[in-house]
Amino acid sequence: MMRCGYGLVALPGTDARLFSPEPSFLRLPRTVHPVRIKFGSFKIRAKIGEARKEVSFYDMLGISEKGTLPEIKQAYKQLARKYHPDVSPPDRVEEYTERFIRVQEAYETLSDPRRKALYDKDLALGLHLAFSARRRYQFDEDLEDQSEWRNRWQSQLSELKRRNMSRDAGGNMSWGARMRRQREELSKQV
């Protein structure tokens, strides 16, 4: 049986050298992709990209990495109130607005447990791609899912077509196969 997880077992009659070594399949599912731009937000991302600082989300919010959700929320609320353009001093609107946006981004990522988990993992690996990669955690994952799903069902469909060729051949005596053969014969006679 070949169903032994992700390892490969040599089939009788095949050359084991044909199988690539295991580790190459176990690379991290998420590699650094080029930033994918979503329409409608290009301008804002260009804006942020200009002033990219390598500050982690936690530093941004001023909390420790072990912060709980209420702490994160509180920190965010405080900073949002401080940096909101409406309440910021008129000469520093631009700067405060940018901070506001980044604080918001930090909160968005850290308040969603799924995205926080991903972010924490990347942070631990030293990959801090905070703002430009914000979209990554959301859209890229979805898009990646999408394209993987698409590939999967496309191959399933082609497999279905292939199977179709040999399905009702001589050996298959299922009820359905018998009825289909009968129907074919009847339609040929007509």
Partner: protein, 721 residues
């Protein structure tokens, strides 16, 4: 541009502004004002933004959806699926959007099931585009997601009558349209029915397609596996679409938040969805195949299949083992994908049974539904712009709530009391019990049969299980009640909600037969409360009956307003004893359950005609209060038994006793008032009662008729409003 990053409430103004050329002030001041409605991830914003093409009504400030119906130019041209055949995929997307808004606006006027319908809009459009209903059979499991289907199949102009008297049914119904090929309402039946239709087609030598759409919740029922097992064996061509939205129980939330899916199957399906296939592995396997080549075709095919089995994850092999070809997961909101897959499968000649795993989001496209914990599964009339439902206010609460409170009070006193339900935490009120006793409440998924035998097992260990299952769903578990509970005399308590007529849900959910099928069992104690205080007492009585099974039934609706026992703790009643409510003469009305209230109303109607009736609340159908019935038979001319149940129930048991006791040989006349021998269609509760002949006027007229006063009987009937 900067506006798009804003995820504060009133996204709407962001969108509206974003479409205009750059504004100088990035933020409008009203954005921060008002209550903090919580965070809307950017994804939602883009979803709302995605609406390109087509004319849209404007969004009002503060609202997240249209307040008046947007124009639906494309949908207006579609009356039947055949009108869709010439559309391009782009137009299909527009059609889906218009269909979605149509569903929302229709349900906002009538109430009904919203979330599930919204989740399958794209799927419905794709199915009707690719397949040719009604020749191709499309079956909708449970049927509450069939609103888009009904709109596309000639019933759009009747959508305003949804779930109302003489209007459209809330589920698929064969008598309503030829496009509804199978009537549903209870879950998990479509694969079985679909297989039957496929086999019938094969026997007749025809060539149409059969598609059964079933949800992941309905997949927790055994019948789905029975059907798939048989389908795999027979190998007849059919398509099963598994609509997976990760919502397995109803409501999809309990009081404190969304319910995590119940059961091992859900996690298997999740693994399927999230499994990251090692595509490279497949490429290698392909490479292997090529290398082998030549005479090793079969072996190569096997390699392919094994590799695919590995890539698809362990979950799909479940369906594969049952004999269904698994395809998926597929994004259920992407019409492109759906159409291409369905077309491929349709054109493949000999597929055998195929299962397409489609992933959807319940409530999709309506921001309030997407965010709500219960995804707006079942709603009353609401305002589309704000999502606020117009829930009526009532002085009393529902019987469901009273039952839950009574059970909690009993469970506080007795730690052996546990509660079981079958994916109906909200409907049975056991979500309240769950919150109070999280370790003692069991949701088994849509598996009533298992629930009953599971309860029997618990009873064997000395626990006191309360099985809360709707009267109509109890039908699914009847053999387990007879064989596993009653035969062995295990003390399982059955709390049957929705007994009698149920209003808008119609005959599929009507609990007409429970008195009949419970009271004929030798060891069962059968009782019914006439008001909410009695319900509290009967819960206590059931908790006290520890040597045999017992059951009690109560209707849908609110209490009548009697005083509740202190501390919500009822007092156990004396078993087999009824109570006399009004002492009168000549005519006695012996009511069972909620019908007692109708009897009281009938008695007051007749008082003005100079008749003082005796009204009795029987309380117990089994064991009957023999001495009370004897007393009534001996001292009255007429004895009328009234119940909201079918023939063979309370009235029949009374008649049996009267006959055996020789009481029918005397002068008393016995008449039964029961539900008529036909199914009562959906409608308002008042309309249904009138249709069934169980209103107080009907009872009063019956009294007059028996007394020989036909004229007065006619008078009562014609003067009722």
């Amino acid at each position: 541009m900067a506006l798009c990053a804003c995820s504060f409430p009133a996204i709407v103004s962001c969108c509206a502004a974003a479409s205009e050329p750059q504004k100088s002030t990035p933020f409008a001041s009203h954005l921060l004002g008002g209550s903090d409605l919580g965070f809307h991830p950017l994804l939602k914003l883009n979803q709302v933004k995605k609406r390109s093409g087509g004319v849209y009504a404007s969004l009002s400030e503060g609202a997240e959806y249209y307040s008046s119906r947007p124009p639906t130019p494309l949908l207006d041209t579609i009356n039947y699926p055949i009108h869709m055949k010439n559309l391009s995929v782009k137009e299909l997307k527009q059609l889906a959007d218009e269909l979605r808004s149509d569903v929302i606006f229709n349900v906002s006027k009538t109430g009904g099931h919203l979330g599930s319908s919204l989740g399958v809009v794209e799927l419905t459009v794709a199915l009707h585009y690719v397949f040719n209903a009604p020749r191709d059979k499309i079956l909708w499991d449970v049927g509450h997601q069939s609103y888009p289907h009904k709109i596309l199949t000639g019933r759009r102009d009747k959508m305003h009558t949804m779930r109302q008297t003489n209007g459209l049914a809330g589920f698929t119904k064969r008598a309503e349209s030829e496009y509804d090929c199978f009537g549903t309402g209870h879950s998990s039946t479509t694969i079985s029915a679909g297989l039957g239709m496929a086999v019938g087609r094969d026997l007749k030598g025809e060539r149409n397609n059969v598609v059964a759409v079933i949800g992941d919740g309905a997949m927790t029922a055994g019948q789905a596996y029975e059907a798939m097992n048989n389908a795999g064996y027979l190998d007849s061509d059919m398509i099963v679409i598994l609509n997976d939205n990760k919502q397995v129980s109803l409501p999809t939330a309990n009081l404190d938040g969304p319910i995590p899916p119940v059961g091992a199957l859900s996690s298997a399906l999740s693994r399927l969805q999230s499994n990251r296939p090692l595509r490279e592995l497949r490429e290698v396997a392909k490479g292997v195949t090529k290398q082998i080549g030549g005479p090793m075709h079969e072996l190569a095919a096997k390699v392919d299949e094994y590799a695919r089995g590995m890539i698809s994850g362990s979950g799909s092999t479940l369906f594969e083992e049952l004999g269904l070809y698994y395809i998926g997961p597929v994004d259920g909101h992407n019409i492109d994908d759906l159409v291409s897959i369905l077309k491929e499968v349709k054109t493949t000649k000999t597929t055998g049974p195929v299962l397409i795993h489609v992933v959807t989001e319940k409530g999709r496209g309506y921001p309030y539904a997407e965010r709500a914990d219960d995804k707006y599964h079942g709603v009353v009339k609401f305002d589309p712009a704000t999502g606020k439902q117009f829930k009526g206010s009532s002085v009393t609460q529902s019987y469901t709530t009273y039952f839950a409170e009574a059970l909690i009070a009993e469970a506080e006193a007795d730690k052996n009391i546990v509660a079981i339900h079958a994916a109906m935490g909200g409907g049975t009120g056991l979500n309240l019990f769950l919150r109070r006793f999280p370790e003692r409440c069991f949701d088994v998924g849509i598996a009533e049969q298992h629930a009953v035998t599971f309860a029997a097992g618990l009873a064997c260990e000395g626990l006191k299980p309360f099985c809360a299952i709707y009267s109509s769903f109890m039908q699914r578990a009847y053999d387990q009640v007879v064989h596993d509970v009653d035969l062995q005399k295990l003390p399982v308590r059955f709390a049957m909600d929705r007994a009698g007529l149920v209003g808008a849900d119609g005959p599929t959910h009507c609990g007409a037969f429970d008195v009949t099928f419970m009271a004929c069992l030798p060891n069962m104690v059968v009782m019914a409360p006439s008001d909410e205080a009695e319900l509290f007492h009967m819960v206590a009585t059931a908790a006290a009956i520890d040597d045999r099974p017992s059951c009690f039934r109560y209707p849908r609706g609110n209490g009548i307003g009697v005083q509740l026992p202190p501390g919500n703790k009822g007092v156990p009643l004396e078993i087999g004893k009824g109570r006399v409510l009004i002492e009168g003469e000549r005519v006695a009305l012996l009511g069972y359950g909620s019908a007692v209230q109708s009897c009281l109303a009938a008695a007051s109607l007749l008082e003005s005609h100079g008749l003082k009736l005796t009204v009795v609340d029987a309380r117990f159908c089994k064991p009957l209060d023999h001495s009370l019935i004897r007393e009534l038979a001996k001292s009255h001319e007429v004895l009328i038994t009234v119940e909201e149940g079918s023939i063979g129930g309370f009235g029949s048991h009374v008649a049996q006793f009267l006959a055996l006791d020789g009481l029918l040989d005397g002068k008393v006349k016995w008449r039964p008032v029961v539900l008529p021998d036909r199914y009562i269609d959906h409608g308002s509760p008042a309309d249904q009662l009138a249709e069934a002949g169980l209103t107080p006027s009907h009872i009063a007229a019956t009294v007059f008729n028996v007394l020989g006063q036909k004229r007065e009987a006619l008078g009562i009937m014609s003067s009722r409003n």
